[in-house]
Symmetry: C2
Subunit: 208 residues, 2 copies
Amino acid sequence: MEKKISLDDILGMDRSYRRNLMNTISGFKSANLIGTISHRGVPNVAIFNSVVHIGATPPCLGFVLRPLTVPRQTYHNIKARGYFTINVVAESFYEKAHQTSAKYDEETSEFEACGLSPQYTKSHPAPYVQESPLKLGLQFEEEHHITANGTILIVGRVVEALVDSQLIGEDGHVFLDKAGAVSVGGLDSYYTARPLGRMPYARPGKAE
Amino acid sequence: MEKKISLDDILGMDRSYRRNLMNTISGFKSANLIGTISHRGVPNVAIFNSVVHIGATPPCLGFVLRPLTVPRQTYHNIKARGYFTINVVAESFYEKAHQTSAKYDEETSEFEACGLSPQYTKSHPAPYVQESPLKLGLQFEEEHHITANGTILIVGRVVEALVDSQLIGEDGHVFLDKAGAVSVGGLDSYYTARPLGRMPYARPGKAE
């Protein structure tokens, strides 16, 4: 039976319970690895569930970073170098991708520690994740600090993409299920997808 | 075979091809209905694929709105009334949810036009979607205008939730597959989920 949970109920919850609830209750999220490289040349990769589409023209994506209350290598590297990559996590390596959420020191490459392979192009300084079927190279564009809790929205402009053209339909649509892409519930539950259907462009008066 | 697509390639694409590619290539997204109510009391509901977790303490979520180059009822209502709801789309009504993306005039309630039912509580002015298994009531907190393309990040504070307690585990984790939640690829492809696994909290040295 449906139950109402108030803000007081939420604030009165155990911290870990509230974190699980608030991370899962709004639905499935994108599972992505974000690749960066430090000023000293150490490649970094970390998993995020907050990548969001910003726009197609110019091609922009964003993601939310946790507050800077402790050192954040991803943030630091993006600010220092100006580039990052967004890589879709697939079923074939989701356990390795999850392992990047462990706290490694700044001299350790999570690629090596987690069994993932950095991949470079001549035209983009940040490392891609070779195992990923859908890779995007971005240039840092802007950042927005969320007053409510100190998190940061990072926005980047897509400057290149690495993808098997067989995964792209005639109209530009990427077949995420064919790519083996996974989605994530909260911070730790991974899912593959079963297609329900592709819907036509909606117009008024066409509802049942 | 993997192929490199440059920024020039992307900017040279047909508009609709680029929109499809850029909306799908970063992976599955959350499928959510956002409910608002106008100053005149007309309930509005629209589908979004850009809901993002902002934080658990205080409980905050955000979503990205397209530029204000045409009237945006969702934005207008949130600014006028200060409240909105986020509702997870489930398999049982995803076609109706998709239909809310049609352009209705401001005197038409998409609830009625699309066959969805508004649901109200005494403690929150904006309408929930009765059909949704996971409903969140939010108070507008802040907005950030993205310089790159004029889109807007709206951030709200969760002030109540409506959910069947059988969908919540002992540790606060919501079973999205049990709820029938769907994810979306781009603007029009809907998917259900098959659980791959729930991973333990990652610590250094625990990789395979």
